[in-house]
Symmetry: C2
Subunit: 267 residues, 2 copies
C-alpha cells in the first residue's frame, strides 16, 4: 500500500514530444516525468495525467498525480524534478493531495487556449507557439458561430477519427458542455488572436477541429448556417480541417466548481 | 557592374544558428540567406548585414542589402525567399534602395531589447526567448544605474574580450552614445522585464555585458557607486558576467535621424 498521493502542476513546451502519453520508443511528457520521478523516489513511479495532449501541444497548467512511499518534502520533489528534467518541462508546484484525488476523475473542467496569427509574415520566434492562418479573417463572423458552441451539445462533428473509449467515459458519448467560448484579439500585436474554450470535457482533437472549422468561417468559406448544420449534423467529414497542434495550450484544469465563473466577452 | 541594390528587412529566431556571420562549417543567418538568394537570382549573392549577431541572439528587424543583376520584382524576392528559407528566418520586406545604400554604414542607430524573468520557475515555452535570473531583483536600483549609461561614454568596461577592429570603425574607439535606456516591466506577466537600449553603435557583447552587470546590481551585489566605478574604470574585468544570448533581440536599425526621438520612461 502506497502512503502518499502527490499532485503536480506542470508546464511544458510540447514541440519536442510525441504528446503526453508514455510510448515505448518515443519521448513523451509522461515518460520523461516517470523516469525522473522514479529516480527521485527510488521506486517505479506511474504518473497519471489529467488528460492526454497530442504531439506538439503545449501546457501552462497540466495537472498529474502519483503515489509513492518516498517521504521527501514536496519542495524537494519540485527542486529535484526541475533539476533533472529538461528545460522544456517545468514543475510549477507539488502538493500532498487527498488519497482519493485523481487528476483525471476529480477534474470538473479544463481550459484550452488556441493562438494564431492572420498576418502575412509569421514572427519566427512565435512559429512554434502559434498557428499561421494568413489572409482575410472575419472575426465578427467567427464570434457569431463561436456563440453557438456554448452550452451542452453533441460535439461528434468535431471528434477526431480514431477516438478511443477513453473519451466516452461516464456514458456521455460525444456530449460535452462548453462553459466559456471566447475569441480575444491580442492587445499588442495586430492580427494575432486567441480562442479560449472551457468545458467539462473535450473529445479527441475537439479543440483543434473546432478551431479549424472556425478559421474556415473566418475566411468567408463557411456561413453561419453551414456552421450550424455542421454542429447539428454530427458528421466529422462536414467540419473543417484539424488546426495545427503548435497553437494549442492546455491552460488550466479545474477541480472546484466554485471557480467556474467566466466573463464571456464575445457572447 | 551590378545594377540594383536591394534592401531586406529580416526577422529570425537565432536559436539554431551560430550567429549572423557566414562560417564555412556552421549554419548562420548570412550563410543561409546567401545560399537561397543565389538560387533565386541565379548568380552568387553576397549579403551585407547591418551588424553581426551572436549565436542564439534573435532579430525582429535586422536590415541587410545585396547587389544583383536579377530583374525580379521585390515582391517576388520576398515570396521566393520565404518559400525557400526555413521558418526560423523570415523576410518581412524587400525594397529597391539607392545604389549607395549600405545596411551597416548608412545606419545611424540600433535598438536592442533584452527580455528576462526573475520568478522561480521559467515558462518552458519562453525559455529560448528570455533569460532566467531567479530571485531578488531591485528594479529601482537597476533604473538608477541604467540612467548613468545614457549619453556619450567610453564603454570599454562592457566591451567583449576578443573584440575585432570592426567595432572600432570610424576612430571612435570604445566611445558610443546611448540615446534610450529603459527597463520596462511586462504589463501582463509579473516578474518579467525588458531592457531597451538604443545607441549609435554597440561594441561586441556590449548589451549582454551591460545587462549582466545591471542584473548584479538588481540582486543587491553591486552598489550604484560600484557600478559608476565600473563604467568609469573602463576595465572589463570589473563588470558583471555576460548575460545569455537567448534574451537578446535586435529590434530595429535606424537610417533616419528624424526617427530618433524616444520617450524615456525611466530617466
Amino acid at each position: 500500500m502506497n502512503d502518499r498521493t502527490i499532485r503536480l502542476l506542470i508546464s511544458f513546451d510540447g514541440t519536442a514530444y510525441k504528446g503526453w502519453q508514455r510510448q515505448p520508443d518515443a519521448a513523451t511528457i509522461q515518460g520523461v516525468l516517470e523516469e525522473k520521478l522514479s529516480l527521485i523516489c527510488n521506486e517505479p513511479i506511474v504518473v497519471h495525467g489529467a488528460g492526454r495532449t497530442d504531439a506538439g501541444v503545449h501546457a501552462l497548467g497540466m495537472v498529474a498525480h502519483f503515489h509513492t512511499k518516498a517521504s521527501h518534502p514536496v519542495a524537494t520533489v519540485v527542486r529535484g524534478l526541475n533539476g533533472l528534467l529538461p528545460g522544456d518541462i517545468r514543475i510549477i508546484q507539488a502538493d500532498d493531495a487527498d488519497p482519493d484525488f485523481h487528476s483525471r476523475f476529480s477534474a470538473v473542467a479544463k481550459t484550452y487556449r488556441y493562438d494564431f496569427f492572420t498576418g502575412r509574415v509569421m514572427d519566427p520566434t512565435r512559429r512554434l507557439y502559434e498557428s499561421h492562418f494568413p489572409g482575410f479573417f472575419d472575426s465578427r463572423a467567427v464570434c457569431e458561430c463561436l456563440k453557438l458552441l456554448k452550452g451542452r451539445h453533441d460535439f461528434a462533428a468535431f471528434e477526431g477519427t480514431g477516438s478511443r473509449d477513453l473519451t466516452r467515459q461516464g456514458g456521455r458519448g460525444s456530449i460535452r458542455t462548453l462553459l466559456q467560448v471566447n475569441l480575444m484579439p491580442d492587445p499588442k500585436i495586430p492580427l494575432r488572436f486567441s480562442f479560449f474554450l472551457t468545458g467539462d470535457g473535450f473529445l479527441r482533437h475537439m479543440v483543434r477541429n473546432i478551431v479549424g472549422t472556425l478559421i474556415t468561417v473566418g475566411r468567408g468559406k463557411m456561413s453561419r448556417a453551414e456552421f450550424t448544420a455542421v454542429l447539428n449534423g454530427r458528421d466529422r467529414r462536414a467540419a473543417g480541417p484539424t488546426a495545427p497542434a503548435c497553437g494549442l495550450f492546455l491552460v488550466k484544469i479545474y477541480y472546484d466548481r466554485q471557480e467556474l465563473t467566466f466573463p464571456d466577452i464575445n457572447t
